[in-house]
């Protein structure tokens, strides 16, 4: 016996489970006084080198841990462990992004109370990570000047989910004939008002400003050490 089809209303976010876990993570970070910051970019934009530099600059004043997402290797975690004592690799296999569940799993056994900052390096990908909230307080999108000025226009969604943009490899800008005003214009057109900083992990240019911006996002860090 068959009957007429019936429509059942659901009206639920597809990623509600991820959002729920991300909210729980955000609460946990807040309670422990940890500022979680994630970094997204295309592969090869210089996330790991940037984080190496950033952590070597910040680790004297702050207690920092890092989670690093990668499809297959543990190379990035090995590199980062030189400038940070607590590093864990999240190997995603075929999955092209990190999600809140992977973050929660990777944090197991760590006492968040002993941390000021948690840096999360996402898998190099400008598409998939944009859909997943990781419970981070701030998301940086990195754009290297060797990639071209129009990346923001090609990937508006990821730029739109980020809180600040970093233009990396500025030491190569002249050689790459990078049009900085055009890049800034393109970022502003997909994400009006977004903070944009220019950096070079190699020369250290602009890194002090990034450190200040990160420290300012963590009002609770003072006095923890």
């Amino acid at each position: 016996m068959s009957s007429q089809p019936r429509i059942i209303e659901v009206r639920a976010r597809v990623l509600k489970e991820n959002d729920f876990l991300a909210r729980a993570l955000r609460d946990r970070f807040q309670q422990a006084g940890v500022t979680a910051i994630s970094f997204v970019s295309s592969p090869g934009a210089g996330k790991t080198t940037f984080l190496e530099k950033l952590m070597s600059m910040m680790s004297a004043q702050h207690r920092i841990a890092a989670l690093v997402g990668d499809l297959a290797t543990e190379n990035d975690a090995m590199r980062l462990s030189r400038s940070c004592s607590q590093v864990r690799q999240i190997t995603t296999g075929t999955v092209c992004h990190l999600d809140a569940k992977m973050i929660a799993g990777a944090l197991e056994g760590w006492n968040l109370d002993n941390l000021d900052f948690l840096f999360i390096e996402n898998v190099g990908n400008l598409v998939c990570p944009s859909s997943y909230d990781l419970g981070e307080q701030m998301r940086f999108v990195l754009l290297s000047c060797t990639e071209g000025e129009d990346k923001p226009l090609k990937y508006p969604t990821i730029f739109n989910t980020a809180d600040a943009a970093l233009i990396t490899k500025m030491d190569l800008a002249a050689a790459a004939e990078f049009d900085l005003p055009a890049a800034r214009r393109n970022i502003q057109s997909v994400r009006p008002g977004m903070r944009v900083l220019e950096v070079s992990s190699k020369t250290g240019m602009g890194m002090g400003d990034v450190t200040k911006l990160i420290e300012a996002s963590a009002p609770s860090h003072a006095g923890k050490i």
Partner: protein
């Protein structure tokens, strides 16, 4: 290609709903915003794959594309920009509030008992 993960999440949600009610799922209605990070063509492809072997095998996926709708507090008006240029076309003020375009939701499903 995270659309496969997205499709699997959708199917899981619907299966939870149908477990309570029973019935065969004929169609799933979803809303996908232009800034949701999901490619609708890839989602269609992934959906058929993800449905195989599940209770939703053979069901239709009906996608409603949600364009951007942005509110400009300076002009107290809304506009429908392209994602590549979301500044207010009138006053170019940066503080724009995105009202629609980030949706990624299962709106409803259709079952026969």
């Amino acid at each position: 290609m995270h659309e496969l993960s997205i499709a699997l999440s959708m199917i899981e949600q619907i299966e939870q709903e149908t477990a309570k009610r029973g019935g065969k799922v004929e169609a799933v209605y979803v809303r996908v915003g232009v800034l949701s990070g999901v490619d609708t063509q890839a989602l269609r492809f992934a959906y058929d794959l993800a449905c195989e072997g599940s209770g939703l095998a053979g069901s239709r996926l009906e996608i409603e594309d949600i364009p951007l709708l942005v509110y400009c507090p300076q002009c107290s008006s809304t506009h429908e920009p392209r994602p590549q240029n979301i500044a207010c076309p009138r006053c170019i003020t940066p503080e724009q509030e995105i009202l629609h375009g980030r949706e990624l939701e299962v709106r409803a499903f259709e079952i026969v008992q």
